[in-house]
Symmetry: C2
Subunit: 235 residues, 2 copies
């Protein structure tokens, strides 16, 4: 892809998403040279993320231009999009046209429901990693997974790291480095609790307990999609 060529990037926003799955990548990717960033919804009316933040799409997926890169974020509202045949067909057509797809967090489940993760390596939020096999994907517990033109990031803030990786893929390492410098992205989390492997056991248990219903709902949805897609995933 030429550095001079305009790059059309689009990201879906939807009710009960997790806003930073989108605003993290927006921060990075809107700064790519020649990029036009399209904030997209099913419709153009404002939505609220799961914690109530208002986000306003400026185009509908029906009216968006042909995209070079589609960003699919996650969050509890991913369930709704997994049942939306217009959204699933849109993602499928995008991938079949050979364009880049970047999923963040449980956005991977939406992509899985669209059928585009079959036979691909992918990642998602740590709490949903076990669900990827229902979509025929090989789940990797990595922060960012690149499988051809399908890039997936782990949970939530992984989208920032994934977006820097996408920036490098599309525009080269030095462009990614300059954006990283601007963003002063030299993280110091203060605690070492960002993954179940490193967080204190009682914190992990509490988190699993509090999200149990959401996880069970996602499991039921994933199994239903596996049947629809004709994927055999041993339990």
């Amino acid at each position: 892809m030429s550095m001079d060529q305009d790059l059309h990037i689009g990201a879906l926003v939807f009710t009960d998403m997790d806003q930073i799955d989108f605003t993290g990548p927006f921060e990075v990717l809107s700064r790519l040279p020649g990029a036009k960033f399209h904030v997209m919804g099913k419709e153009t009316k404002p939505i609220r993320d799961v914690m109530g933040l208002i986000l306003t799409p400026e185009t509908s997926i029906a009216e968006a231009p042909s995209l070079d890169l589609l960003v699919v974020s996650g969050g509890p509202g991913q369930e709704g999009l997994m049942e939306d045949e217009e959204v699933l067909a849109y993602i499928r057509a995008h991938v079949e046209a050979g364009r880049y797809l970047f999923s963040v967090c449980t956005g991977a489940l939406i992509c899985g429901a669209a059928g585009v993760l079959r036979g691909r390596r992918a990642t998602t939020h740590w709490g949903s990693l076990h669900l990827l096999r229902y979509f025929g994907a090989e789940a990797l517990d990595e922060r960012v997974v690149v499988d051809g033109r399908i890039i997936s990031a782990g949970g939530v803030t992984s989208g920032i790291d994934g977006a820097l990786r996408v920036a490098a893929l599309l525009r080269g390492d030095d462009v990614a480095r300059k954006i990283q410098l601007y963003m002063q992205y030299a993280p110091e989390p203060g605690f070492n609790s960002g993954h179940p492997k490193t967080a204190p056991a009682e914190i992990v248990e509490a988190a699993r307990r509090e999200t149990l219903q959401l996880t069970q709902r996602r499991e039921a949805t994933a199994m239903r999609h596996a049947r629809r897609l004709g994927i055999v995933a041993a339990d």
Copy 2:
């Protein structure tokens, strides 16, 4: 502060801000137990961040409830707020009431113009660190600085680290750890270019060159405020 007590948190959004200075902290702080997060503007009409993202305040600073924590973000639009006596008086009254103030990136310059950084240790975006002395502050090149109830984060993504620190201050380390786990905040930037100390020299030079006009404008504004505040900052 009791764990049961409701926590009113407010954050200013404004034209030409950098959205992740706000959306990063929102991600963390909206998840504090008992928190009510108020997205505030001068008015309640939507604004666009410096890259065009639409953000919608839900209350004006005139109508917002008394806050326990005020978040002041930055970005190029910080210049406008530094000239806005209503905003500056609002920040001043908040600090004089003994409440927590959390500045992100060049939001520190707004707080400086409000006069509340005099004699305090603080930080800001690496490109503006040299300006803090015009507000009577001691500039520290650290990711997060805590000086009593005034917390400041460095540039842009530092706001996520700063917000986790604030979360721990207000609600304890385990609350911060649980939010970090949910957010899967175990960053892997991929490049080591997040600070001028580690980025390749030519990347730093290019970044300084491209932001030269903005930096010069900020210098002029800072010097004008220094005179207004009666602060002698040797050049």
